[in-house]
Symmetry: C2
Subunit: 357 residues, 2 copies
Amino acid sequence: MRFLLISTLLFIISCNKKENEIQQPQKIPFAIVIHGGAGYISKENMPLEKQKKYKIVLEKALNKGYEIIENGGTAIDAVQNTLMILEDSPLFNAGRGAVYNNQGKNKMDASIMDGKTLNAGAVAGVSNIKNPIQLARLVMDSTKHVLLAGKGAEIFAEQQQLKFENDAYFYTKRQHEYLLKVQKREREIKLQKSISKTDINNSNIQIHTLENSKYGTVGAVALDKAGNIAAATSTGGLTNKKYGRIGDSPIIGAGTYANNKTCGVSCTGTGEYFIRTLAAHEVSNLIQYKKRSAKEAIKEVIHTQINNLGGKGGIIILDKQGNIAWDFNTKGMFRAYKKSTGKNKIAFFEMDTVKLK
Amino acid sequence: MRFLLISTLLFIISCNKKENEIQQPQKIPFAIVIHGGAGYISKENMPLEKQKKYKIVLEKALNKGYEIIENGGTAIDAVQNTLMILEDSPLFNAGRGAVYNNQGKNKMDASIMDGKTLNAGAVAGVSNIKNPIQLARLVMDSTKHVLLAGKGAEIFAEQQQLKFENDAYFYTKRQHEYLLKVQKREREIKLQKSISKTDINNSNIQIHTLENSKYGTVGAVALDKAGNIAAATSTGGLTNKKYGRIGDSPIIGAGTYANNKTCGVSCTGTGEYFIRTLAAHEVSNLIQYKKRSAKEAIKEVIHTQINNLGGKGGIIILDKQGNIAWDFNTKGMFRAYKKSTGKNKIAFFEMDTVKLK
């Protein structure tokens, strides 16, 4: 009799619990994570005033994307609009702050991917486009293509009435001085060494790897209330780049990948290594096929696969459960996230983190 | 005592066996597999005379690559030289026989990957280069870059003293007539439909998918005596392509992938779907992480992943054990292989195979 009573009580409690669950459906988590490039970013070479500047823009971009998904918007809109803010800032190597190529032009790359449909859009080697990520989005939405390059992509942008800016808009003293520095070093190496073509090509990269204190590629991954994931990346590529070099940022599966089954990923660093390892797609497959966690997957790709080849850079990830992770084998990475759980963080250096206000 | 005798005998036999093993080391298998594109290739629309023409060139290319690895050469040399023969033929949509873009130019893409080092080289949107695959190889060997595009890639080719050909060399009546046909159809559709930009872009692809009876991208995968795998792909892309469109052929992990741990892969078809699924890298990961066989892996990618998105095309694969497979969801695919076991095959249509002489 006592047993029956307890059983009945337990049954009633259990029913009530179920009812409560129905009345208060489990909150769908949503979140956004962004980066502003990985590189030789350390407290020593970055005065507080400079840190503040970066913090302001990163927060603005992060909040923009977060606001979109908080208001029921899509992950794809969130990542696009977040990156447009970073592209509009002269602080990052993307859009307005893009580095100069060997001919003193800004040649920009960008890509975007929708994890729901696996639709993707990308542009490579475009000039004078105010927001390359907007153009990548249009490639995704308004064509059946994925990747448009060079002059052809610019013609498409004109037809789509995208905003163009003149060269002066893209002028940043910092990037221009950096180009001159790299080119001076290149001339010195040419004088020193026997001028085999291979040496010249290699030296170009070596200079970059040694001296570039900040890569500054920008990226974002968002998970919206509907459970859709999107990822996007935008960059000016390598300073002093030649021969129409394209890095990983506009390559789906290398610099950018999103798949609702697994995660969204954006990468930054020495692009060639991210292409050869298919870094973003590899991360997703490690989760899907090897049951790795988001954190484990990016750790394996950046610290083992890319590191073993000699590559440097960083990765941000946001998986379908809303788990966020970042990792890098450089000195630092500009990075921030914001989650519907209330958790958020902004960080620049290896060990240091700064709480968002 | 008897036991000791038997043991001693067994020991002697076992020693002899080991000695024999050393004297006759296990033969390292080597092999090459090639394709000349997938599409609407059927017996009905291909007279015997035409079949013979394709057979002759495919055999020549296959034998060239096989000869290289048979003589102890590398897989990477084999795939490059094999593709150069296919590029030199006007029959395929690569090199000499490349299709025309919207402006009546040949804009070619190619990529090559070495499975031993994961080094890779690729070029996109290049004109007047006799052998784009040779240029891709030079990008791999003589720069630290992976992908060079457009005019920049052509400047690099000039510096490397690569062979250029004038427009007349690339003229093929077949491809020119096909361009005019596609453009005529496009004008008709423009007249019929309200001319929204989206419609134009979509119609371009639709025409291609509907009418193109042969895609003609070429690819090769080889496994050499040292156990190294290499893969390469070369194409002229889509007829009437606009806006600097780049397909999957020059994208490492999409159209081409090689990894000694798993396999080498070359793809052909509607490139955008191969980019979105990272087809070549996905095949490799299915083998590495899901323990799929070569045959199972390409079947899953072409018939499930790509097919479900609406893509069409074919894949060839050669794994580290020397297993060869091909698969496609089109009417046919030009394809052939040759193995050191003596096995070989050349086939065009879905069910039909022709023995190599």
